[in-house]
Symmetry: C2
Subunit: 240 residues, 2 copies
Amino acid sequence: MKPPLHERIRSDFETRILSGELEPGQRLPIEQELMVAYDCSRMTVNKAFSALAQAGLIDRRKRAGTFVARPKVHSMVLDVPDLAEEVRGRGQAYAYRQLHRALRAPEPERAEEAMLAACGELVQVDGLHCADAVPFAFEYRLVSARAVPDFARADFAQDPPGTWLLQHVPWTEAENRISAVGASAGEAAHLLVEPGTPCLCVERSTWRGSERITYVRQVFLGEAYDLVARFGSAGPGEAA
Amino acid sequence: MKPPLHERIRSDFETRILSGELEPGQRLPIEQELMVAYDCSRMTVNKAFSALAQAGLIDRRKRAGTFVARPKVHSMVLDVPDLAEEVRGRGQAYAYRQLHRALRAPEPERAEEAMLAACGELVQVDGLHCADAVPFAFEYRLVSARAVPDFARADFAQDPPGTWLLQHVPWTEAENRISAVGASAGEAAHLLVEPGTPCLCVERSTWRGSERITYVRQVFLGEAYDLVARFGSAGPGEAA
DNA sequence: TCGCTTTTAATGTATAGACATAAAATGCAG
DNA sequence: CTGCATTTTATGTCTATACATTAAAAGCGA
């Protein structure tokens, strides 16, 4: 019924920017003008604009003024569901089947291992994610033995390695690469499809601070799995 | 060299939350305690916590206190670069080659058009995105003629349809679906590959308010294009 | 114990003023 | 005209204070 003033200012400009009335690059009134227009103190205008700046809708530069941001990249929020949850949510039984586990030294000739070379020994775990006992994803994972000493002895009957890691060693930074690949001979055999079948490939590297934790490559059967990203154009941060 | 105090407070707690030191649901010190701990005013603590709240890392409740938010889903920010920019950034020449453009009625039997059925007439545009004259993506696009009257006469020599639309009719909401597909016969012919070649398929629907604007299906050559997503500890919202 | 009112502790909003900072604009010396 | 120093201006940070808003907690009567 009575939204706070800084919120009204914020949403006024949010609306005008999102609607296109205020175009990217356009200069907005300075705080002094707005504190007159809205009859409030500068801190109130500042709070509204700070929130818009945090949301990436505007760009503020000292001395120059405040401008509507030009969105160079569209950042969208990708919801990455827990595989087990996702499968169970569709009423199917989830299972992780481990194929291989070994402790070994990194092989620097493989590109993704070169990055983990500084980690000392690695634990390699291969496995399958299954829905109703049918495999839908192949997972190849490398874990730094130094960063996660317990990993080599962990039991994945309950939780797959990804979930186990998340609960034991939360990351602080992650990078994902999404691409389309044809199933390799080995992957195809495990996934019960023809080699070359189009699959969605997700590669993820995670760090905790500056320490490398894990590299994982997941190959999903193309027809069985989609990634859905929803855009809150309003920018990240706000729930609503 | 000298980060502002509210920023230091913010990043302190951001780090401790993201690292798992502060667990979801855990209560944080009240503002009074922190203004003593950091030897500053309450407004400074408040500013730091407001930013964390906007970023969704904490949850603040009057009288009850401030708590570490429990993340419902693992979401990550996916940066979708402008195709033309991306290509030019790699030192290649970008070009869009239009294959087909027509104004027609929707065909409700096709699933994606059914959603656009209420839009009246549609403009269909097929085209290729090329890097150094080599096609790397096929694009099939439908645009509501009512929502974007100028689209039928737009010139795509300068900017591809996506960029043109973005500049003329910014969306307020969008949904993306990412999957792996095998190139169809037609797509394969345009992309100069064998049918069935694994490709990354991005389907996007955009709205402006409640009005449907466009549906687009882009098929990328698997080896030529990746989507990269980064979950920075920096959290959502800030550009950097 | 139940249900109501009152208290109270926490965040939320807003103010006015002070000083810091950075970059655009200006002026000046050469 | 060029290069450099100075000024100006708009945002950035921070304080101290005041009052509003909520919802948990406490009190209390039936």
